[in-house]
């Protein structure tokens, strides 16, 4: 049974090549950080690069929603708290809070499809992987859902 806490394996220093002209983490680099944090959770579920090799299938990102909350600078330590929000036979939805030196710097949400890489179409997860996904989803079911989940982008009064 997985932990009933958010997944927190990700931890690394901000890399110089992720910074922009003013020494802050570039917009696109938040996506790199989010992807790297989520990759660790996918690895934990047996759905990372090794799975692609062994099964000819992979998790494809179809949507990503980032909310930028604070600037991040060189030398800071990045961590993440990731929740498996929702899943079915072919889809996973992950949400992360990204922290820099313990301060919430961004949130990121991704929708993944399980794709047969040769056929180029979605296929159901194999039973053993589905069992791991379901176990993590159940473990995360009681975790608080942030208020911004389920909101799109827009100019709100």
């Amino acid at each position: 049974m997985p932990d009933r806490t958010a997944f927190g394996a990700y931890r690394e220093q901000v890399r110089p090549e992720w910074l922009d002209y003013n020494g802050h983490l570039n917009d696109a680099s938040y996506a790199i950080v989010l992807t790297r944090a989520h990759e660790l959770l996918l690895e934990d579920l047996g759905l990372s690069a090794a799975y692609r090799e062994s099964h000819g299938a992979s998790m494809f990102t179809v949507e990503m929603h980032l909310r930028y909350l604070a600037e991040v600078s060189a030398g800071q330590t990045l961590t993440a708290a990731t929740t498996l929000v929702e899943a079915d036979r072919k889809r996973l939805r992950l949400h992360s809070e990204l922290y820099a030196d313990g301060v919430l710097a961004a949130t990121g949400e991704c929708l993944y499809l399980h794709v047969d890489t040769a056929a180029g179409r979605t296929v159901p997860l194999p039973d053993d992987r589905q069992a791991r996904v379901d176990a993590l989803r159940d473990a995360h079911a009681e975790l608080a859902r942030p208020a911004h989940l389920g909101l799109g982008v827009g100019v709100r009064p």
Partner: protein, 183 residues
């Protein structure tokens, strides 16, 4: 400006903002940036990495900033447009060397915020590859808070919004991420 080796740059960096012409026709949507997928954007699978889609959309946004009057000099004077949110939609993969054309539509605005919609299409087939929605906020960079745009900048974006008012609302706009169940 001191050059930091290895940092992220944009192809429009250092280019002065264009001189705004009130009489000029504004394209709907705007087409301000195109590129060719470079080797450094490829992942181990020889497809473009997810974050590089955002780099490409960011470059298009940077071209947009210079179109409306936000360049290095504008930023140095203490104001900038910061990205508050980005929502990416991926439709197709991109291989090395493929030509990419970006379009930009201004969906909505108020005195401090801009809601943008980007599309990335294949330069030869016109196939839709990816879309991005972005919310930008005009900030006082010294005070670190949002402030109204100056009148001339607001006039420019208002003129663009007017030119884009007749464009159809893209289907993905305003939808949150969700697993939508068919039954």
């Amino acid at each position: 400006m001191t050059e930091t080796p290895g940092r992220i740059t944009t192809p429009h960096e250092g280019r002065l903002a264009s001189t705004w012409d009130d009489a000029a026709t504004i394209d709907a949507p705007l087409r301000l940036h195109e590129t060719t997928a470079p080797p450094e954007w490829m992942d181990y699978n020889d497809h473009m990495s997810e974050s590089c889609f955002l780099l490409a959309f960011g470059d298009s946004a940077d071209a947009f900033f210079r179109f409306i009057g936000v360049d290095e000099a504008y930023r140095a004077a203490g104001h900038s447009l910061y990205t508050s949110q980005t929502h990416l939609h991926h439709r197709q993969e991109v291989a090395l060397g493929e030509p990419l054309v970006m379009t930009l539509q201004l969906l909505d605005l108020d005195r401090r915020r801009l809601h943008l919609y980007h599309e990335m299409r294949h330069g030869e087939t016109d196939a839709l590859i990816a879309m991005a929605e972005q919310l930008l906020v005009h900030v006082d960079t010294e005070a670190g808070r949002s402030v109204d745009m100056p009148q001339d900048l607001y006039a420019h974006v208002s003129a663009i919004r007017q030119a884009h008012a007749a464009l159809p609302q893209p289907a993905v706009v305003g939808h949150p991420i969700a697993i939508r169940h068919s039954n």
